[in-house]
């Protein structure tokens, strides 16, 4: 099976894998991923490659999910340990490369994890270094937590369902803000700090949603 090599060229943003090889050092064939060569099956063990490069896509928040999945499956077919014996690969090395692909896919196929990862590799502040949240998120969180507590003690499930719906709505809105800010990062915008704050806010929201989900009615 041929690997999707062609579409990569020219799409990589310059900050992405400038230092990464685009041709196999063994057989000089173009590479779909810096991790291994689809032509000669050399395992290149490129540790410098980020998740985007590993799956051969540009370092952007905006992705084509179907394309990502197609690439992931095509690459997995080549390097999965089940194939190792026939492709003449060392099984342990194949497992390592395969787990790299799986991790890249896990992160990139999830909107939240992808935004967090993009922030990290673009040099944005980490969650431990920058705990700021936008505007009145903290007061809102406190109020919502109190409401969940009240709902826990009162019998009515109606109030609780309303809180859950409100949290789901807030979560969706926050994810939209994350997406908007991350797209600005794609365009070279200086929005890393605001993105950090929105991602922090989502962590609060997620915890609240878990709490609300745990309340029995």
């Amino acid at each position: 099976m041929s690997l999707p090599v062609d579409a990569v060229d020219g799409e990589r943003s310059p900050d992405n894998s400038a230092a990464l090889p685009t041709k196999c050092h063994e057989c000089r064939e173009p590479l779909a991923t810096p991790l291994f060569c689809g032509a000669c099956h050399a395992l290149l063990q490129e540790t410098a490659a980020d998740h985007f490069a590993a799956l051969g896509i540009a370092r952007r928040y905006e992705i084509d999910a179907a394309d990502l999945r197609r690439r992931y499956l095509a690459l997995s077919r080549e390097v999965h340990p089940d194939r190792a014996a026939h492709a003449g690969l060392d099984p342990a090395a194949a497992a390592r490369v395969s787990s790299r692909l799986n991790e890249a896919m896990r992160v990139l196929s999830d909107d939240l994890l992808r935004a967090e990862y993009l922030l990290e590799i673009c040099g944005g502040p980490s969650a431990t270094a920058d705990k700021s949240v936008p505007g009145d998120v903290l007061t809102e969180t406190l109020e919502l937590r109190e409401e969940i507590d009240e709902a826990r003690h009162s019998a009515g499930s109606e109030r609780l369902n309303a809180i859950r719906a409100q949290l789901a709505q807030q979560h969706a809105a926050a994810m939209q803000r994350v997406a908007a800010l991350a797209r600005q990062v794609d365009q070279g915008g200086q929005t890393l700090k605001s993105l950090r704050a929105e991602l922090n806010a989502i962590k609060y929201l997620r915890r609240l949603r878990e709490e609300a989900a745990r309340v029995e009615t």
Binding site: R69, L73, S76, R77, H80, P81, D82, R83, A85, H86, A95, R96, S98, S99, R100, N102, E103, M105, R106
Partner: protein, 655 residues
């Protein structure tokens, strides 16, 4: 390829109640049958002790059919014990007809009429029987196998399955999850033979259905797109239609629910949920328990008779099977006091008894769908697998829950073995168009300070997967670090399953906190954990000593391969003693080093208390004969020195 032709790989479904073997042939997978045409081999073993103390075993139908006569020497449902700890057994042992005791490292030893065996050895006897069947059929030695396990099996249970294979002389080259195997068979269009009779319940042992030997299975090719010449004749390379399916797998002893996406020959598991102690056996027990009161009214002491308990279990199983077809059934049981218990059971009554069990499976269905990030609407099909899905209540409740009738055209007994054979075909390079991407069913982590579970790999992560974590020392010159590896979803380490204690040795002596040890956790395609470590500064690879918390050591497996029946408890005890004494030496020395280091800041009475504890443990170890007591003493010592260790870490961080 030529090698694989000479060296076959079989697919084995090692089930709680029945086991099967299948092979991959050019026409597709085929289940292998015994001389009577029966594919299923009961996972039942009867052990006998000869005059000279040597043991032998009878495996399969004969053992099953004579289970009442030889109650105390017959072992069934041993899969429920595989890879479990003695502590897990409290709940299980009441239902067993043989005595079970704690073996080394929390393992289990069965005592069957004086023959002492590990559960792995019982399973090995079943595997060996299947291996012989395959060798007879194929006319050449069979040394490699793909063996299926419940998706929800943890690391220890998977390891135990592999060990059982080794003890049977089979290299288990891949462990595949049962629902995943079923999906694979479904996806390539294999249904298993005789699905026309699959709807009918099987009879009990006395009137076992022995079908005539079936020919090779004709494989329909449902995904073959005839318009696409490049893919013609190759079912899985057909239209790139993506389907999302749920596999509802209710077997004899275990329940699994897996959600998969099937897309251009790639079978990707999105999530899995299950219960390794929920299956058809529990339906039998529900009947037996519901009737116990009525039976006791006729013969108060009937439970004292192991043979009667066994007979009741089998009668309950027959009643369950008959109730899949008939609205009512008569259960008859001869009692020890000579009276006879006879009772009509109506289906509705039976359904009332098992309803809580069936509801449990539906809650797990919800969990799996949620974990896959999907809704029920997004599922294209729900496929029923496992003999217990013949129960009408199961079918009805699944249909109601799923919102549509489930897919029941697969032979629920054979489809898992067929899938295992397909995976064998993939590994042998005969189907390079197919690929399985499975997940790890339970999160993996390590114990962190304070007894919390620090998750490193989350459940439902695609395997193979990898996580790394940095560790350092907290005492000057410390050359070893101990890590406790856990599996489970709970927040506290004590509520999770301890898989192993890893000891990293050979760390170059450096001041506390200076070494940087990168520990890599790699879960392979079998769902088995491998650990590697290296000291980053020096580049030295730290040697890892794996102390499995449950299960067998490599030596034990090797010995079983030589002699699967003979069992030398003394050897294992000696082995364990050496391990424990080493541990005492290591822990006390480490404690002394810490005391020396913290001399200036530790109150003298506290120092004296620790020194006394060290002396006490060493004295105890020197003369200990009871290894369990020594293990307890060692654990207590570990607990009592936690404040010291914490102080050591604080000191190391401060300096």
């Amino acid at each position: 390829m030529t090698r694989s032709a000479d060296d076959p790989i079989v697919g084995i479904d090692l089930g709680t109640t029945f086991s099967l073997v299948a092979v991959f042939e050019p026409g597709g997978p085929r289940v292998l049958r015994d001389a009577g045409g029966e594919a299923r081999l009961p996972s039942v073993v009867r052990l006998m002790r000869g005059e000279g103390g040597e043991s032998s075993a009878i495996v399969g139908w004969e053992a099953r059919d004579s289970a009442v006569e030889f109650t105390s020497s017959t072992v069934y449902s041993v899969k429920r014990l595989l890879g479990r700890s003695a502590a897990d057994l409290k709940r299980e042992s009441a239902h067993l007809n043989y005595s079970v005791e704690a073996g080394p490292r929390s393992t289990i030893t069965l005592d069957i009429g004086g023959v002492r065996l590990a559960p792995e050895q019982i399973s090995a006897l079943v595997l060996r029987k299947l291996k012989e069947r395959a060798e007879a059929e194929l006319g050449r030695p069979v040394n490699r196998a793909v063996v299926t396990v419940p998706a929800y099996f943890d690391d220890a249970q998977r390891q135990a399955t592999r060990d059982a294979g080794a003890a049977a002389g089979l290299d288990v080259i891949r462990i595949v999850n049962e629902p995943t195997a079923a999906a694979l068979a479904y996806g390539i269009g294999a249904r298993g033979s005789g699905f026309d009779v699959a709807e009918k319940p099987r009879s009990g042992p006395e009137i076992a259905v022995r079908r005539s030997p079936g020919g090779p299975i004709q494989l329909p090719m449902p995904h073959c797109n005839s318009q696409d010449a490049a893919t013609a004749g190759d079912p899985a390379r057909g239209p790139s239609e993506t389907r999302t399916v749920a596999i509802y797998d209710l077997g004899g002893g275990t329940f699994d629910l897996s959600i998969l996406r099937i897309e251009s020959g790639v079978f990707q598991v999105l999530s899995t949920a299950g219960d390794t102690h929920l299956g058809g056996d529990d339906f039998d027990r529900a009947i037996a328990e519901a009737l116990a009161g009525e039976i006791a009214a006729l013969d108060a002491g009937f439970l004292q008779s192991a043979a009667t308990r066994q007979a009741l279990r089998l009668a309950a199983e027959r009643a369950k099977v008959a109730l899949s077809e008939k609205p009512s059934v008569q259960l008859v049981l001869d009692l020890p006091n000579g009276r006879r218990f006879s009772r009509e059971i109506h289906r509705a009554e039976f359904e009332g008894w098992i309803a809580p069990l069936v509801e449990r499976t539906l809650r797990l269905f919800d969990t799996a769908v949620r974990d896959a990030g999907l809704s029920f609407d997004a599922l294209d099909q729900c496929i029923l697998v496992g003999g217990s899905t013949r129960t009408p209540l199961v079918r009805r409740r699944v249909a109601e829950h799923f919102g549509r009738p489930p897919y029941t055209a697969l032979n629920p007994d054979e489809v898992v073995a067929l899938g295992a054979a397909v995976q064998a075909g993939i590994l042998a390079g005969r189907r390079d168009d197919l690929l399985l991407l499975d997940v790890i069913p339970l999160s993996l982590g390590i114990e962190t300070l304070g007894g919390a579970m620090g998750k490193l790999i989350l459940r439902n992560t695609t395997i193979p997967c990898r996580a790394t974590e940095m560790f350092s020392t907290f005492v000057d010159g410390q050359t070893a670090i101990k890590l406790r590896v856990l599996q489970g979803e709970r927040e506290l380490a004590e509520h999770c399953r301890e898989l192993a204690i890893f000891e990293l040795r050979g760390i170059p002596p450096m001041p506390a906190g200076i070494p940087k040890i990168e520990v890599e956790f790699l879960v392979d395609a079998n769902g088995l954990l491998n650990v590697a470590a290296r000291e980053v500064r020096s580049g030295v690879s730290a040697a890892i000593q794996v102390l499995p918390s449950r299960g067998l050591t490599r030596d034990e497996v090797a010995r079983m391969m030589q002699d699967s029946i003979r069992f030398a408890r003394e050897d294992i005890a000696a082995h364990r003693r050496v391990d424990l004494l080493n541990q005492v030496e290591f822990d006390t020395r480490k404690c002394e080093q810490m005391l020396d280091r913290l001399q200036s800041e530790l109150p003298p009475d506290e120092t004296a208390r620790y020194r006394a504890a060290i002396t006490q443990l060493r004295d105890f170890a020197a003369s200990a004969t009871d290894l369990d007591a020594l293990h307890r003493a060692l654990t207590d010592f570990g607990h009592s020195t936690i404040p010291l260790a914490e102080r050591g870490i604080r000191a190391a961080l401060r300096d």
